[in-house]
């Protein structure tokens, strides 16, 4: 047999060529935002985009940044002869000396030493980025994460999260399903010899530890490198009256360029559809039929929380895909499959061997679980105020 291959060669029309040149020029010269740091809140909304100055490979930001990203009421004054900068924010007084890495909070009640000192650059007082990372959590109940590769700083409120087990419904169980396992099913592989089954188990163990610390009832479908059938995994989940099912996997593609996290929901009528008609919407007759489909909306809610939380790890927004997913098929509770990264991509594969990255991933997933559990009311709050706060992150 002979095939005449006619490649669909893209025709170069002048407009495309022009756009291409613009793109090329901007890529080589850099967009103006290449010299900014983006501050985002816990939900991923942009708080401000601030131009920075690079000094000895350290990023320095203007003092006013504190106003737009942390406290609009912030006030500061500078005493030139003594080179002392005084910042008043959140009912606290912070004193810094230019060129000196120590930061004094409330007249010596607390002293923090930065890795690099604040400096006068181009006649203005500038704060190193580590000031935001280290000092802000001391001034307010926030967590600050800086991602140098994305030039992004995330400032998250620490409120709304249950702190002791008495606040959590003991029947509500988090089931973590580390995909694959055993000799025959290693999942996908990286060029460096990393197996999916091992990566997902280490993330699952980290999530288990954190969930226990936060008082959640948690169960893993496998605790070690063993083979577990899909049915066995579903049976484990369905033993629990109510909860949340998270299947952990690592992705692979034929293109090395595919990278990043992805979320999947089991929807037999999603981007790929079954021929059979969907079961009619829940009526009294169908109430006893337990199917994954009955939990689709809840799964979507959890996926969008995960999406917002995990977006911080990626340059591009994390995609949520819906189609018939076999790994979630017969789970009778909200369920999401997380592809933690592409082992076929060198960058992703390297990150998934990094213990810090694995811990950060696990922390983010657990935080999403906390936000979701607070939202669906499986967290019994001790007082009304915190319960109200807890629902804020989703409504905002």
């Amino acid at each position: 047999m002979q095939y005449n291959i006619k490649m669909c060669l893209r025709t170069f029309d002048p407009i495309k060529l022009f756009l291409f040149i613009i793109l090329l020029v901007s890529a080589t010269h850099g967009f103006s935002d290449a010299e900014t740091v983006r501050f985002v809140n816990g939900e991923g909304d942009i708080l401000d985009e601030v131009e920075f100055i690079l000094h000895d490979n350290n990023i320095y930001l203007p003092v006013e940044t504190l106003k737009s990203v942390f406290d609009p009421e912030m006030k500061h004054s500078y005493h030139t002869p003594s080179k002392q900068l005084t910042i008043k924010t959140k009912d606290k007084e912070i004193k810094l000396l230019m060129g000196n890495p120590s930061v004094t909070i409330d007249a010596g009640r607390q002293t923090i030493t930065l890795t690099v000192p604040p400096r006068i650059i181009k006649g203005e007082q500038k704060l190193p980025i580590s000031f935001f990372e280290v000092v802000l959590p001391e001034l307010d109940d926030v967590r600050v994460i800086y991602k140098p590769e994305l030039q992004r700083v995330r400032i998250m409120q620490n409120t709304s999260l249950p702190s002791d087990s008495s606040e959590i419904n003991p029947l509500w169980t988090v089931i973590i399903d580390p995909g694959h396992g055993g000799e025959d099913d290693v999942g996908c592989k990286s060029q460096t010899g990393l197996f999916e089954k091992d990566v997902v188990l280490s993330v699952a163990k980290e999530i288990e530890t954190l969930c226990k610390q936060h008082g959640f009832s948690i169960y893993l479908t496998r605790e070690e490198d063993v083979k577990k059938s899909r049915q066995q995994r579903f049976q484990i989940a369905n033993r629990f009256e109510t909860g949340l099912y998270i299947s952990l996997h690592c992705n692979a593609s034929f293109s090395q360029n595919h990278k990043g996290l992805r979320l999947y929901l089991n929807n037999p009528y999603g981007s790929l559809r079954f021929r059979t008609a969907p079961i009619p919407t829940l009526g009294i007759k169908n109430l006893n039929i337990r199917t994954q489909a009955n939990f689709l909306q809840q799964s979507k809610d959890f996926a969008s929380i995960l999406q917002k939380e995990l977006n911080f790890f990626a340059k591009d927004p994390i995609a949520i895909s819906e189609f018939p997913v076999i790994s979630l098929k017969d789970v009778y509770m909200p369920a999401v499959l997380i592809e933690l990264g592409y082992l076929s991509n060198l960058e992703d594969a390297a990150r998934l061997t990094n213990q810090d990255h694995i811990r950060e991933l696990a922390q983010t997933i657990v935080r999403s679980i906390q936000v979701y559990s607070a939202k669906v009311g499986h967290t019994i709050k001790s007082n009304g105020a915190t319960a109200e706060e807890s629902s804020n992150p989703i409504e905002r």
Binding site: C8, C188, H249, C250, N257, S271, L272, F274, V325, Y342
Partner: protein, 195 residues
């Protein structure tokens, strides 16, 4: 004298024997080659049959067909146009197009169908569902990962729906004649699928 004659006689028998065997084997090889070449001829260009309704009839002119592959640095499946001499009958067309998908990987493209995959059989039912029976390589050769598995399945589906939009509404993938739940453990292909 008689001793010598006997030796000559027995030598003669051996020589003739060898010659005969060689001729027989040679003839068999020639016959086999002829039979084979005839078969190839049939496959390459079916003889013009007088019966118009014959399912192996070819379309009068070659047709442009899209198969869906991944560009080496691309993130999405893209159509690659092939010019094929197709049979008139849809089932036969489908066999030709899918065989082309399985076998064709132009430079700068990646084929999401694992190497070695063979299309065993195709069947289209009255509900316009195509059952495509592939060899076990389609499942065993998976590299893992939801993205790769989704691409293998959607490259088949897009190629089929693109080529025969009127004749096929759903596709079910079979492996060595059997229904399967999944190729690599993520995507559920236990039922006929469409986009």
């Amino acid at each position: 004298m008689s001793k010598i004659r006997k030796i000559i006689h027995s030598r003669l028998i051996v020589t003739w024997g060898i010659t005969l065997v060689t001729i027989v084997i040679g003839l068999a090889i020639v016959l086999l080659l002829i039979a084979n070449s005839k078969r190839t001829v049939i496959q390459d260009a079916p003889p013009e049959l007088p019966n118009q309704a014959n399912p192996t009839d070819m379309l009068p002119s070659p047709k442009d067909v899209n198969i869906y592959l991944l560009e080496s640095d691309g993130l999405e499946l893209t159509p690659v146009r092939l010019e094929l001499r197709l049979y008139a009958e849809p089932t036969e067309q489908l066999k030709q197009i899918l065989s082309a998908l399985v076998q064709t990987t132009p430079t700068n493209y990646r084929n999401p169908i694992p190497r070695g995959t063979v299309l065993n059989e195709v069947y289209i039912d009255t509900q316009k569902t195509a059952y495509l029976d592939f060899s076990h390589h389609l499942a065993d050769g998976q590299i893992g990962g939801t993205t790769a598995e989704y691409m293998s399945v959607t490259s088949i589906l897009r190629t089929v729906f693109d080529a025969l939009p009127e004749n096929i509404k759903h596709v079910q993938i079979l492996i060595d004649g059997k229904e399967v739940e999944t190729l690599a453990g993520h995507l559920n292909i236990s039922q006929p699928l469409r986009f």
